[in-house]
């Protein structure tokens, strides 16, 4: 079920920019079009690039926002979310909690 929807109409999560567009819906209540345009602008790419896994792998690697295949030395998990919050200009709940716990809440 999940796989079929993901292939038929899903953005592709971390393979592309699906998680980033989802974050704009979740944090700013943006509709799909607005959310995609916002993310494209922040990443300095075209909206079409957002669902292209080839292009997005390059972009995600350059920006350090997490790759679906985690390569050594690249940001992943919490590290990637620090950068996502910064690049998209949004608050991510667990990132803020982490900063508090690690005493880097500035």
């Amino acid at each position: 079920m999940a796989i079929t929807h993901a292939i038929a109409s899903g953005m592709g999560g971390m393979r592309t920019a699906g998680d980033l567009v989802a974050r704009m819906q979740m944090t700013r209540g943006m509709r799909i079009k607005e959310a995609k345009e916002y993310v494209a602008r922040k990443l300095s790419v075209s909206v079409t690039d957002l669902s292209d896994p080839f292009r997005m792998t390059e972009i995600r690697d350059e920006l350090g926002i997490g790759l679906v295949t985690p390569l050594p030395g690249r940001p992943m998990g919490m590290e990637a979310k620090f950068r996502i919050a910064e690049i998209l200009g949004i608050k991510i709940n667990c990132v803020n909690k982490f900063k508090k716990k690690a005493n880097i809440d500035r």
Binding site: A2, A8, G10, G13, Q25, V68, M78
Partner: protein
Amino acid sequence: MPKILTRMGDGFLAEVSEGELRKDLEEGTKDAAERAKVPPLNEDELRHLYDIYRSSAKFTSVDIGDEVVLTYDAGTLKIRRVGIDVGRIHALQIYERLLGADTMELAHVDYSYKAVKPIVGNEQPILEQALLTSTIPLFYGAMPNLGIYSQPDGPVPNASELMPMGKIAEARAAQEEAVELAVKDMVYVGSAMYESGADGINFDTTGAAGDPDFLATLRASKILKAKYPDLCVELGMAGEFILGMHGRLEFEGVRLAGLYPHEQVKLAQSAGVSIFGPVVNTNTSKSCAWNIARAITFIKPCVANATIPVHANMGMGVGGAPVVDNPPTDAISRASKAMVEIGRLDGL
């Protein structure tokens, strides 16, 4: 005239002629339009639906560039249900890295806020660890599930036992008590999970126990949003129509019983919901084409009325997907494409 291979709402393969397919689509949209008093799909939309369901391809999809984001109800449970013995953090990683999920949800096997309350302290460390190792947005989700507040499982008298005895007032009082208790539990668990770092809270299958279920969830959403303005609340429904189990309950002056998706979304918005998930149930004795035409007719005006993102429920037995545990990709991919392209959705 060649036959078209299609499926019934129970998943069985069936053959229809072009005329039968067209008729099914027209009747499906008409059924929804009459019930919810919304416009039926127009000629262009029906034509587009016809093309999607007429295709002989095993798999179909939206056009490049039209993709939407997906949220998942009962997220980690789906891996457990198929008997894969991994921890829930592994399940999240499988979704994130293997299945390309845009978001994911951590869930307890009982999938009810009431059942989570006594073990919330066990759930929080798992969520906190999951957040450290995952990148995609993470929900914590469960059902309001007002049914389990009734005796003999829960504390309040059983409304469905009182009703047939003619004890209408007592049944209503019991449901109102259940609402109070459920609001408490949902706020308690939702707060705990947000405090642990969750990106969002999902109230799934809302309205399963009728209008009291919907009311409790709207109230819990409002309280949580007032408490945590940055919290993302997703509210997913149980069916297209709010069952009037109580009949008189209102939220901000609007009677809940009998509301359809395009009316439900307005209340969800005023309760502060961030993402709304409308549901249309599948009729197993009608074709998938009939069901999807009907589903989109309900969902389209809901999307039009919305100022927040709308993610239609497209799981087993809802949103034109057949009622079958092992879903056929032909039927799901057609429903997926049709719903996104004609329903103009923000996600599924």
